[in-house]
Point group: C2
Chain length 595, copies 2
């Protein structure tokens, strides 16, 4: 596996030109996010990602996590790496200073998180979950809970987990059966959770489990789920650790990838009941957990991007080094980067990575504005936008991340299939991203039901109007690349608008139709919105080139990459239109026994 | 991993309705291929595939092949399984009776081979290579070589391998450096080959290596390569085994998938030189090896189909069994097959599998006609058609097989990522198919250079005219499904024709352009030609339904599956048009250092 070099320059370009960091740094609370600070944060994070986390990625894959005598052991180097992140206050990067965090905007945190995920996804899941647990307790916990847990989570002293899934309750959380019985000032939790990422380990002295469970008289389904804090060790009034709680890892899964991330089966209450503390009110647990889930979804989308970036770097290094054949027009044998199809694959990887990065960071920036903008209208508007983007970032970036990781294998030819090379691991690791934190279908379901149908397409039309507006602007440009990008973008926006319009009509006819079309629609929207971001990048690059204050090579590449996307990838939106609209009818045409 | 049930009925449908087995059985030499015999062959092969090979697939993956004390050990059960195939004369199914074969057409052999590959791809590579070696020696070997090796290969007494790749010679076979020095009636071979599938094992008493090497005064590049037979044990005049030849497995690769297939590094001549026998004339080795490679390419394309069928069966079984949530319109929790998006995935898998099967079998049928048709014109015409289809079957079916195997994981949700389930193995196994026997880019290169540009698109236009002709017929049908299929097919044919026409022009402008567009073009052609075969299936199904001699459920499903493909998958051809044409310009727009 080749080294990882954090693409700091590309990240800064997106932060500055597309995600509006200047605007965010002007919001109350984010005054510290000066360019100087952000640049040094990115530089230092890049160094740690490249020097500390990345070298452990392949060894972690080989060693995996192991359950021995009831204790989960992580791969070599995990402890040192974890301490590096905790001691540098990286886990608390976006946490509020009140609880010891750095108070930086989400959009900066997301750039740093991309580095962790790209360097070592199996490792980076751990701090990612702690940040999610922090957010959930921060938004929904009591003052006592915040005081007890937030400083420890922000500092990395303790880790957080999310405990949702049970054997019979995966996508259908309403089927959760874990019980919570009131017992004085706390509850006793009993039941079994599966697929718990970093459910147990020795990296920290305590683990803060956020657990969905059901009180005895709770209504059935999702409206009867409550959220509990279940620490691995109870916490005394003075903050010291007390008794071992009745929550234990009983086994680890043997997975296709992310071997070094322990995926645990967790038993609660085998010895009488695990002590749990109710978060907020009973029966509102799913609502609270969505704070953590939305964070996790954005971050899993980010994993799609991150692993794609890593796969791209790996493939690029190989393509530059591997000599094979004479590329057309060359008289000498030379590196395979000269072969047109290798170039097509690398361009596809590069363009998709850049589109994913832009869309993910823009979504994170919307969260910052939704959180801190002084205007309530702006807060509400950017919150709606962030919510609209959330399933698209998760669904589209993870599906695309898989495609890019697979192209990364392909660039290597036979060597890509050999595990020593490292390209295959990226694909194996990436494969989970379209599944956990809600499969692509669950994201698409969220998109059509909670976003498109609920507001009758208002938010989507607004986003697509912006795309169409830029397309129109570009059509008047003198630059051929920009005009071509504009044309492709206009077609993309029209295609997406047709699909959204179809959805609103079809839902009234047969509610199965939007559901059958939902994943193609999500991919269509991702393709178009990703193209929109690259078009914005092209405009910014052109501006710098014209003003003479850019780096001619870097900014010209941005323009050409956007053009490549417009020529080669954006047209795939049109290829999805059938499946995103009337093709839905033939999805449901067969009887069960005709399969 | 769920059981494998050979889809005999679907295979028979394709053989009868689409691949023209009746016509082939009327050709000289294939008189035995009566429906009765073929049906019993398929039934028995299906039984062996399901009962003998399939149960070893997952254990083989876990155990892998091992090199211990210089000997390659295969996974448990491999020996018994191999003997079952050899003793049943399955390896010699398409071999001529003169050498002990069954003399059945390729198209029957391909159906049987699909079963082996679906049941256990890591195992099935072994007989597949023996068949390829048989073909190469049969077409290019001397009478003595045929007498010495063909009966043993056909009977399965010995195995065959293909030794092409070297560390510095992968896609670029011209770079081969293995040496062959004449020494009396034979040559002494020395050098190292890598990625040799079943390069060594204990399944048979002898292994017949077909090896590309270079004689001392050979011209450089591909025109200086000769083909040699290098048996693991020399063969005495009486046919008994003689001395151990100087060819040894020195290591095995650790791969992403097909763990149970030993992928060997083979050392030739470490102890003075391996005895090799020249096939045909010196320096014509690549031409001869292409006999084996074309066989292997068709069969690797078939692997794409086979693993997709297996993944489909696995996903379908899970979707029927797994209870999760209430599907729209259902009042009870029920199996996930009721959820529209799960259905979309299953329909995509089913439609793609059926399209791949039809196209692969049609390609094999063309080989039979090219081999045995009494008319020289017909032989030549079907040979050209088979050669045109070969890279499309290999490239498109393997890329599609990966997509289907990945969907198979997705249908399982979290369980798909757990190795015990078995879905992940199909994806890991499938991933090699777009790489070995020539990557997709190499297939696409073959398609544009040796097929499209060499005859200026004549063969492609002929194939697309047939598609357009059927589309036109369908547009006059009263059946709504057929009319819709016809409309989509017409658009597909037009799109493909535009791409082919672009290619012929662009090649004159800059030879890098067709190369940059070649893989999207191959995928576009595969998508359209696959859709054509499903449209033919729909016509046949409609005919049976109208004549009242069909199975209403089975034939209606064929019609609806073709309709699904036309609505949802065929439009992807339009999405590929940009990349298959002018998008090529932006593929080559960046300088090397701008990546």
């Amino acid at each position: 596996m080749t080294a990882y070099l954090a693409p700091v320059r590309d990240m800064e370009f997106v932060l500055r030109e597309l995600a509006g960091l200047d605007e965010i740094a002007a919001l109350p609370g984010y005054e510290d996010a000066s360019w100087e600070l952000v640049a040094s944060v990115l530089e230092e994070a890049g160094r740690i990602a490249g020097e500390v986390l990345a070298p452990l990625n392949q060894t972690g894959d080989r060693q995996g996590a192991r359950l021995i005598d009831g204790k989960v052991g992580t791969a070599e180097g995990w402890g040192t790496a974890y301490r590096t992140l905790a001691e540098g206050n990286w886990i608390g990067l976006a946490a509020t200073p009140q609880y010891g965090g750095m108070g930086l905007p989400s959009v900066v945190n997301i750039a740093v998180s991309e580095m962790w995920q790209a360097a070592n996804m199996a490792f980076a899941l751990c701090p990612m979950l702690s940040q999610g647990a922090y957010n959930a307790i921060s938004e929904c916990g009591s003052a006592e809970q915040k005081a007890a847990f937030l400083p420890r989570l922000a500092s990395g002293e303790w880790c957080g987990t999310m405990n949702l899934t049970e054997a019979a309750a995966g996508s259908d959380l309403g089927a959760i059966r874990t019980k919570a019985a009131k017992s004085g000032d706390h509850y006793l939790i009993s039941g079994q959770k599966i697929f718990i990422t970093y459910g147990d380990h020795q990296l920290t002295e305590n683990i803060v489990h956020l657990v969905l469970a059901r009180t005895p008289d709770a209504p059935p389904g999702v409206k009867g789920i409550s959220l509990f804090i279940v620490p691995k060790f109870l916490v005394n009034a003075d903050g010291s650790l007390g008794a071992r709680n009745d929550v234990h890892c009983v086994s680890l899964e043997h997975k296709m990838g992310i071997h070094a991330s322990p995926t645990a089966v967790m038993a609660f209450g085998d010895r009488g009941g695990a002590v749990g503390y109710l978060v907020g009110e009973e029966n509102r647990g799913l609502e609270y957990m969505f704070v953590m889930m939305n964070h996790a979804r954005l971050n899993v989308g980010l994993q799609g991007l991150a692993i794609a970036e890593r796969a791209y770097q790996q493939a690029l290094a190989y393509a530059r080094e591997r000599i094979q054949g004479k590329p057309i027009g060359c008289s000498e044998k030379s590196a395979i980067i000269g072969h047109p199809d290798v170039r097509r694959m690398l361009m596809t990887m590069k363009a998709r990575v850049e589109a994913m990065r832009a869309l993910s960071y823009v979504a994170a920036a919307a969260l910052d504005k939704a959180h801190s903008h002084p205007s309530p209208e702006q807060r509400a508007a950017t919150k709606r936008y962030a919510e609209f983007l959330n399933p698209i970032v998760k669904g589209w970036c993870t599906e695309t991340g898989n495609e890019v990781a697979s192209l990364g294998v392909q660039v290597h030819g036979g060597m890509g299939y050999i595990e020593e090379t490292g390209a295959a691991q990226h694909l194996r690791d990436a494969r989970i991203t379209t599944i956990y934190e809600g499969t692509t279908a669950i994201q698409a379901n969220d998109l059509i039901n909670r976003k498109l149908l609920r507001d009758q397409g208002v938010e989507a039309r607004q986003a697509l109007d912006e795309v169409a507006g830029l397309a129109e602007d570009l059509s008047h440009q003198s630059d051929d690349d920009l005009r071509t990008i504009g044309r492709a973008l206009r077609q993309g926006a029209e295609t997406a608008s047709r699909a959204v319009a179809w959805l609103l009509t079809a839902a009234g006819e047969d509610p199965r139709l939007p559901a059958a079309a939902s994943v193609p629609l999500l991919m269509l929207l991702g393709t178009v919105l990703g193209g929109h971001q690259l078009a914005r990048a092209a405009v910014a690059a052109r501006r710098h080139l014209e003003a003479g204050n850019g780096d001619p090579s870097f900014h010209a590449a941005k323009l050409k990459t956007a053009r490549f996307y417009a020529d080669n990838l954006l047209p795939q939106a049109a290829g999805l239109l059938g499946a995103a609209t009337d093709g839905a009818r033939s999805v449901i045409a067969l009887d069960d026994d005709q399969f």
